[in-house]
């Protein structure tokens, strides 16, 4: 009886576990890919204050117009089965964001005891964004794909680490003579991070020997509900936890919005090499 059951077990599961052909392309499972992705910049400036803006406030008198968001990535992908692969990538790009904040006015000869007066600061920030991306790729076997070659649908998570640098500032002083006395420190954070959900439709082709090219379109959406609420309803909904928090949101909310429009949609193009 046990022997019959054992043979039955083998006859059912062995075909599932074994494969008639090893995964990968000609036995190669690992690919190193240099990827470039881009899309016209809208609803937020590039690092040099260009781009198309429909609703956000412009910073200064810079000429706007067509400009492109971009990102460079280096991806390492590994085939885990005939129709599946995993990839780990690192990326980097620069972009810009306009933020504003307020500080309490300093006393002046005219107003030695300013009570609620505030100075207003408009800032143009240059964001240095570094990312780590983990993606799962599902190849479409019915269309002749075989990992790592062919059409694929991918999804995964992308972690963004953002450093900000204020490259231009315009301060409006509330009190006469305020510029004479300067303003309080802005106390804005210059670092933040976000987590994104990524999806992509891509196609990988062999072009010569071990070289491959990859083209496609990718979509990314930040996973931060509380800040989305602030982006959609105005950051004032978060203004209930004191000055320090307010200044934090003065930075994080507009940066999230900028990152959203930067990551929302991209065309990507990559050149890679089959390693082993």
């Amino acid at each position: 009886m046990n022997k019959i059951l054992f043979l039955l077990f083998l006859s059912v599961f062995l075909p599932l576990a074994s494969q008639s052909q090893p995964p990968g392309y000609l036995g190669k499972r690992a690919t190193l890919l240099f990827n470039f992705s881009s899309f016209p910049a809208f609803e937020g400036p590039t690092q040099n204050n260009r781009g198309i803006s429909f609703s956000t406030e412009r910073f200064g008198e810079s000429e706007q117009g067509l400009a492109f968001n971009y990102e460079f990535n280096l991806d390492f992908s590994y085939v885990v089965s005939r129709m599946r692969s995993l990839s780990l990538g690192v990326g980097q790009y620069y972009t810009g964001v306009v933020t504003d904040t307020r500080t309490r006015s300093r006393p002046t000869l005219l107003e030695p005891n300013p009570s609620s007066a505030e100075d207003f600061h408009s800032l143009f920030n240059r964001l240095n964004v570094r990312s780590i991306t983990l993606m799962y790729h599902k190849f479409k076997g019915e269309k002749g794909a075989l990992a790592p070659i062919g059409n694929q649908f991918s999804y995964g998570l992308k972690y963004l680490s953002i450093n900000s640098e204020i490259v231009d500032k315009r301060t409006s002083y509330r009190l006469s003579g305020g510029s004479f006395f300067g303003h309080e420190p802005l106390n804005l954070p210059n670092k933040t991070s976000f987590l994104l959900f990524k999806m992509a439709f891509q196609n990988t082709q062999i072009i010569k020997d071990h070289f491959v090219i990859k083209m496609g379109i990718q979509v990314g959406v930040p996973l931060h509900y509380r800040y989305w609420e602030a982006v959609s309803n105005g950051k004032e909904v978060l203004y209930d936890t004191g000055d320090k928090e307010n200044q934090y949101y003065d930075f994080r909310v507009p940066v999230l919005r900028r990152i959203f429009f930067h990551e929302l949609l991209r065309f990507d193009f990559g050149v890679g090499f089959l390693l082993f």
Partner: protein, 288 residues
């Protein structure tokens, strides 16, 4: 189809390169919390002479320190970086006071007869006026020194006060003696003695205590005729910008901002005006 797609990608790639150019500042430029923030407690940055004593104080005219309490000082000046102060007693040389060291670090030899002096916008060169000659000490800012300012006139003149702009122009006031004495305010590049590079304006009375800001857009002076008016002058305009009720003052970097003095009170005009009483006696000299 593939060719078109590749060309499109190439176009996007090249266009994206435009995003790599750095941003060009339009307003105040880069900002960092580590630098450029004035300390919350205002630095001492105003020097004035009252009852012959020299006071160094902050922009709100509080937290003063006394640099000289001899009761003999006539004039005091401070450089734009607020690191050095000059002051002079009657018949003595001009003293150089170091703000950081909080002590007198030197003096200008043979300057007992100086009637006016100040720092150039470079924060290092000191200029002073003796017997119609403009002298300098420190990095050269004039083609020749001393510069005899009477060379700009054919008639007998007396130079009342003079300052050197950051570009090396000389702005000075003078009384020209003739059948009728005439007073002028003059700006010249000082390169030659011809009238080609000279802007000359007739003024009601030659004023003294000339101060120019390092932005080179505001000159103020004190009337010496008993009219008790401080005159504000834009160096390249064709006349006075304002005459105020103050006696004299010191210009700030912004065109519309300056300190003004009336007796023992100091006001900041921005163009609104706020005033503090110093309680240190009648003020006879001020610089910012």
């Amino acid at each position: 189809m593939k060719n078109i797609f590749f060309k499109l990608l190439l176009l996007i790639f090249i266009s994206s390169a435009t995003a790599c150019y750095d941003y060009e500042s339009q307003f105040e430029g880069p900002y960092s919390e580590e630098v450029g923030i004035p300390a919350p407690d205002f630095p001492r940055e105003l020097v004035y002479v009252a009852s012959g004593n020299v006071y160094f104080t902050n922009a709100l005219v509080e937290d003063s320190i006394v640099i000289d309490d001899s009761g003999m000082v006539e004039i005091a000046s401070i450089n734009a970086a607020h690191t050095k102060i000059l002051f002079k007693k009657a018949d003595e040389n001009i003293q150089i006071y170091d703000v950081e060291d909080e002590r007198i670090t030197g003096e200008i030899a043979n300057s007992e007869e100086a009637i006016w002096f100040d720092y150039h916008a470079n924060d290092e060169t000191i200029f002073y006026l003796i017997d119609n000659d403009l002298h300098t000490q420190g990095p050269a800012v004039l083609d020749e020194q001393p510069k005899d300012l009477r060379d700009f006139f054919a008639l007998n003149v007396e130079i009342k006060a003079a300052v050197i702009t950051k570009d090396g122009d000389i702005v000075f006031t003078s009384t020209v003696f003739g059948i009728f004495n005439t007073d002028y305010l003059i700006r010249t590049d000082g390169s030659d003695d011809s009238n080609e590079n000279k802007y000359q304006y007739e003024i009601p009375t030659a004023f003294v205590d000339l101060r120019i800001n390092s932005s080179d857009n505001q000159v103020v002076g004190r009337s010496n005729s008993g009219l008790s008016n401080m005159i504000v002058f834009s160096p390249r305009s064709t006349g006075f910008d304002r005459i105020t009720s103050a006696l004299f003052g010191a210009p700030a970097e912004d065109f519309d901002e300056r300190y003004e003095v009336l007796n023992d009170r100091i006001s900041i005009r921005t163009p609104r005006i706020g005033t503090v009483q110093t309680n240190t006696g009648i003020i006879t000299s001020i610089d910012f």
